[in-house]
Symmetry: C2
Subunit: 846 residues, 2 copies
Amino acid sequence: MSDVPIVHTLHWFAWIARGSDAMRRSTAYIFPGVTTVSISADSSLRTDDVERLDSPNAEELRLIDAYWRAANYLSVGQIYLFDNPLLTKPLSAEHIKPRLLGHWGTTPGLNFLYAHLNRIIKRRDRSVLFVTGPGHGGPALVANTYLEGTYTELYPNVTQDTEGMKRLFKQFSFPGGIPSHVAPETPGSIHEGGELGYALSHAFGAAFDNPDLIVACVVGDGEAETGPLATSWHSNKFLNPIRDGAVLPILHLNGYKIANPTVLARISHDELDHLLRGYGYEPFYVEGNDPAKLHAMMAETLDRVMDEIQRIQQVARQNIDPTRPRWPMIVLRTPKGWTCPHEVDGVQVEDSWRSHQVPLSSLHGNADHIRLLQKWMKSYRPEELFDADGRLNVEIADLAPVGDRRMGANPHGNGGLLLKSLRMPDFRKYAVDVPSPGAVNAEATRVQGKFIRDVMRKNEFHQNFRVFSPDENASNRWGDVFDATDRGFVGEILPSDDHISPNGRVMEMLSEHQCQGWLEGYLLTGRHGFFNCYEAFIHIIDSMLNQHAKWLKVCEDIPWRRPIASLNYLLSSHVWRQDHNGFSHQDPGFIDHVVNKKSEIIRVYLPPDANCLLSVTDHCLRSRNDVNVIVAGKQSSPQWLTMDEAIKHCTAGISIWPWASNDQGAEPDVVMACCGDVPTLETLAAVELLRRYLPNLKVRVINVVNLMKLQTPSEHPLGLSDRDFDILFTTNKPIIFAFHGYPWLIHRLTYRRTNHHNLHVRGYKEEGTTTTPFDMVVLNDLDRFHLVEDVINRVPALGAKDAYVKQAVRDKLIDHKQYIAEHGEDMPEVREWVWSGKRSNDSTGN
Amino acid sequence: MSDVPIVHTLHWFAWIARGSDAMRRSTAYIFPGVTTVSISADSSLRTDDVERLDSPNAEELRLIDAYWRAANYLSVGQIYLFDNPLLTKPLSAEHIKPRLLGHWGTTPGLNFLYAHLNRIIKRRDRSVLFVTGPGHGGPALVANTYLEGTYTELYPNVTQDTEGMKRLFKQFSFPGGIPSHVAPETPGSIHEGGELGYALSHAFGAAFDNPDLIVACVVGDGEAETGPLATSWHSNKFLNPIRDGAVLPILHLNGYKIANPTVLARISHDELDHLLRGYGYEPFYVEGNDPAKLHAMMAETLDRVMDEIQRIQQVARQNIDPTRPRWPMIVLRTPKGWTCPHEVDGVQVEDSWRSHQVPLSSLHGNADHIRLLQKWMKSYRPEELFDADGRLNVEIADLAPVGDRRMGANPHGNGGLLLKSLRMPDFRKYAVDVPSPGAVNAEATRVQGKFIRDVMRKNEFHQNFRVFSPDENASNRWGDVFDATDRGFVGEILPSDDHISPNGRVMEMLSEHQCQGWLEGYLLTGRHGFFNCYEAFIHIIDSMLNQHAKWLKVCEDIPWRRPIASLNYLLSSHVWRQDHNGFSHQDPGFIDHVVNKKSEIIRVYLPPDANCLLSVTDHCLRSRNDVNVIVAGKQSSPQWLTMDEAIKHCTAGISIWPWASNDQGAEPDVVMACCGDVPTLETLAAVELLRRYLPNLKVRVINVVNLMKLQTPSEHPLGLSDRDFDILFTTNKPIIFAFHGYPWLIHRLTYRRTNHHNLHVRGYKEEGTTTTPFDMVVLNDLDRFHLVEDVINRVPALGAKDAYVKQAVRDKLIDHKQYIAEHGEDMPEVREWVWSGKRSNDSTGN
């Protein structure tokens, strides 16, 4: 392998101490690229004299209220109306949608916050991204981005007039229209309001390396009960106030979920305050139900909070002191469904769980309810808000920021706009020298780690690459990355700690949810990253992967959504090598899970050795809008391909390994296919046994790196053509397929292929416990001896030798069991096995 | 449907107010069955005079320390030794295992806690269950259960003498032995130490309805970073101090994960204290590294904590006041790897991340390390602990409790011992009256909810059935359950709340992790339950399901583990009806996930109507050691089978529907198979179109309720024989299969079947957004028109009509798109479609 120079990245303080040149460099490090301007402006303020801006006067508050009413009016309109958007005619059944879909409950609170944040942005000229945690906030974000103009810019057909307002209303939760949640279709959004729990993780991921950005993240009190959200408050221990932006969590207590009160709304103020301080925040409370009072309180609170964020950042940045501050947050307590009819049919609706969806249902044939809806909508006094053509009155419209400062137009909300390609080292330089197949051993992920280390180094200036791992980075043998950076942690650091500093770019918290959420937020705002995880436990984020994959799928059909960097997984410490951990750590099913997602965005790679892993890793880091799953072992294993061979193999995704095959110039008697590092090893060991026992047998060895190649092109864009598949696998010979994962998956991927009825797959069968490496494959019948038996069972009569060979391999398995029961390790013939064949030069069959 | 009498279960206070007779009943309700005796004893104590027990004297502390040293000695022995268990000979390489697997880091802390809990149990005669949160605590729990004698009782070969000790050591993390984590093999355990995060949820699940039980739950500070653990602290808002037992969380701060410090160990004492109080606990701190001091502190603290638990329970129970108390908890801060060599090769190991696994590795060929290991083991002074035969000295052994009071023998740790079958109402009484197929509509899950309501009622006395749901119980239309019980919540309850009380048996927190964890804890301690969830979001607990399924699989091979009640899921609000929610709520892949688990324990049911759902539900509640997944819609839908037909259909799991078929007495031209309620509806609608367009076509309709029937008996114990499969599906006719989930699954389950090459499956394809119900199936090509087209494309030439029929169905799809774009609902011909066929009496083909 080529030598890559190793420069130890020093901890912050040591780095600063290097003097003015280093200082200059560190300034660039902190405030790279696009963000320089506004930070420089901030830096001119004195730390002890943060600019205090006046509280808004009554007229300003009146206008904010009008803006809020306009958003509320548009939200109700979206849920209910088909026509008559300005209520110029008395409301009647024909104006009302036949099916009422959508959610009002959280909407007025979101509208309230959006209006107040608009004021702050405009007044302070700050870049604010809005993350909508509550699940059902679609109407609010659509209404607000429409009011500020971004909606019409992106969807020109939805004009800012009566006709456009009618379209805005009709399209909501309507066939061919938009979903009822905040979604990829919503301008300025990086967070789907579907599955709950990831808002804060996404917000922090967005704030990392964006020192000028403030992410206002609304956390619903329903969402707050989820596990991922509960731990994501701790993200503040990983946010560096110098290098990163700010997250402003806004816990919105409206008291109810679908049919239940929420936990955080029903604990005492004292307990809640303890909890939030325990999480490390300084809570500011805005509580009540009188809009006038709340407007004044919220305006003043936001001013104080923004002052505090500014002060924190100034102190940290001027003193170059990344000590974790006590970041401010807001608790907003307002009634659920605020401003909707308080009672309907004698039952309380506002401020109860009954306002969660549509406060008024069954309108058709119910004149009273239609009258109530009209009264509700008129309570916002639309005639004061919109002119006769449906245009927002100018003095109200002026409250919104302009251009990219509008939260619906913030470029971080469409991260592809900001995406810069990574500077990439040449992956070939990290190649393992493989003089002949199996001649050397290497730890594949350790080799990969050196490459990742240099990706980290090469992009230090742009600060747009991070690695995320639930404390498994070292265990998965990416330790060399710590030559280029540290683990990021903003807290007490002890001398005995290993590569930990506030400037680290490896994010390790023992929460797969947090790692995934941070990484998604980081990618969605236009940066790059890798998730390094144990294979078994990546299932913890199955459901998050679903949501991200759905997001990507929808984005591909939205012209204004620009491509983002792919979501890259390294899954190591995989199912076949869990010597310490046993059965609980064995599950290769994440592959099955991801291949259920839309094929256009799914890629699964199982490189058989280090050089293939390098080639695949390089490809993944350059790809866009994909989900790339790489499964690779960390243990020392035989290396098979030279770098040149590896590049060809990985580019093709599937190849015959001529040096392992002996069917050149003849029809093979059997195809031995393998996918995954351990199955490849066992297949090659089986091939050697076959050469010894059955030297006349013609064996073709095929290795699969890119699992998607097995599917037909109609199922996956990378699928092998039927003709190419038939050429490789023949149309009528037995195929013995050794697979890393559950065997079904191979059947599923190949069931349309000509020769699939001759396919016999061995893989993981949920059999495993504490074992030696070889015993693990024996337990699952994936070992070399079983593979030999498979060949004998499936190749038409090989003559009288069959019975003797079967007995010989059976005896080997009994030898093995006896040996390990006594010695606790694999028998020497297995442990010390090496591929004896050489790479032949006439491998083309000539 | 038969009428079931509805008795409204009153809230606690109202109930009590009914007078002496009600009081008597309520007492039984609080303290049912087995628990009466000790509660009565407790009740004789005065509330204001809780018995204060003396602190232990120096001699007692000396013995506790000896017990701790013995456990530590045995733990180190398990990790390292092959032979020479009592170190009677100088330690040499041949005594040391060839591969060192296991984890020391958390072990001494667990041993410390176990010893102190033993004292408390013995002194107070309390029933304590030990839940080991830290992932790698296997050596500790094995050592302690060996010391107390339970290990030898369950594994007679591992005797309490030198020979047994040698076996104990050798078997640990050894082929054919036991895993390195706490596992099903570990006596007294209900919690696998594999994937982290669920310890507290399991502990609370165990404590529910066990008023006499104290669950001591050690939470590792690594585990504490996970999302599920972070939210599970809030379980105290759902624990009724009258009816339920106590959970004593012990947060063990040893400071490090695999390679990182932990978050909670690196925040200030003040922040940590705020956090734990914010979660609602009263923390007691035991911190230090001097064993002598810590023994005294821990003994005193445990006395205080146990007094406090006793006081809380007495106050609540005597005053019949379930107000949430501030439960005590313990924070134990000790060095990671405590008592192992402080330095190895000049590097700090004790009290650092380096002691996480094996503090001394590479012993073979390293005489220094071997000497260090010997010194380490001798530091526990084994000669003071064990006699020459390897027996624990009597005065030390006497510290352990006896019989079922030993934590390794607590029957709650082997819940099957305590399991009582549910009292079951006759599910046939809830039948929907179906005069002819499709003649009536019903909401299947609402009907099921009435049955569940009465299961709840019938088992009120035994208090051994609960329902768990992330706030989706009402949405999934089990609202009738609230006629029998309430939602459980121990906190502020407002008049506008809907069926909420501290006595409720429906557990709703917006955390799938919490619901799953509670339910697992409840089942593992011998009770029954149901998880009611949205289909899409059950993926959130994919990984927890993995762990539970692995637990069940391993238990089947452990003779002393008694069967427990099955883990039952209702998945509703399913992929085909997400009108409010759209794409983010659509994922039918949980089925794919579960069928990867060991087939013996997996069952998947897709009942097509309410009567089938009733039959399946009854079966699931009676089953043992299974994971039952039921997928059923909540929307009003046509009903197909009478109860009698439903019982036959569900018992068979798969049947021809003769009344929908017209191939009686002839070979079918095509088999139309369906699985799931919406696919069944579309298939029947397609059959009617075929009857109209192609009246001579012979169609056989097959419905699948039990998905596992599709597999061969070699793959699943419930699989249909090949002969039966061929009889149903023919060996050569086209099969059009309409499936609820991802189509691949059907291919995967049937790939071994004769006729699988004629199988064409339609299912969910990751295409969906806000739609009308029919448009959802159209988007995925699962609609009746596509099914008709499939038949035409696959049945050999039907004559000149083909082209006309294809054009007719194509035109229908265009009609549909135009209609919904304008009206926002399905066209009347679809919306109002009903099956026109009657049930024929000659359906047997005669």
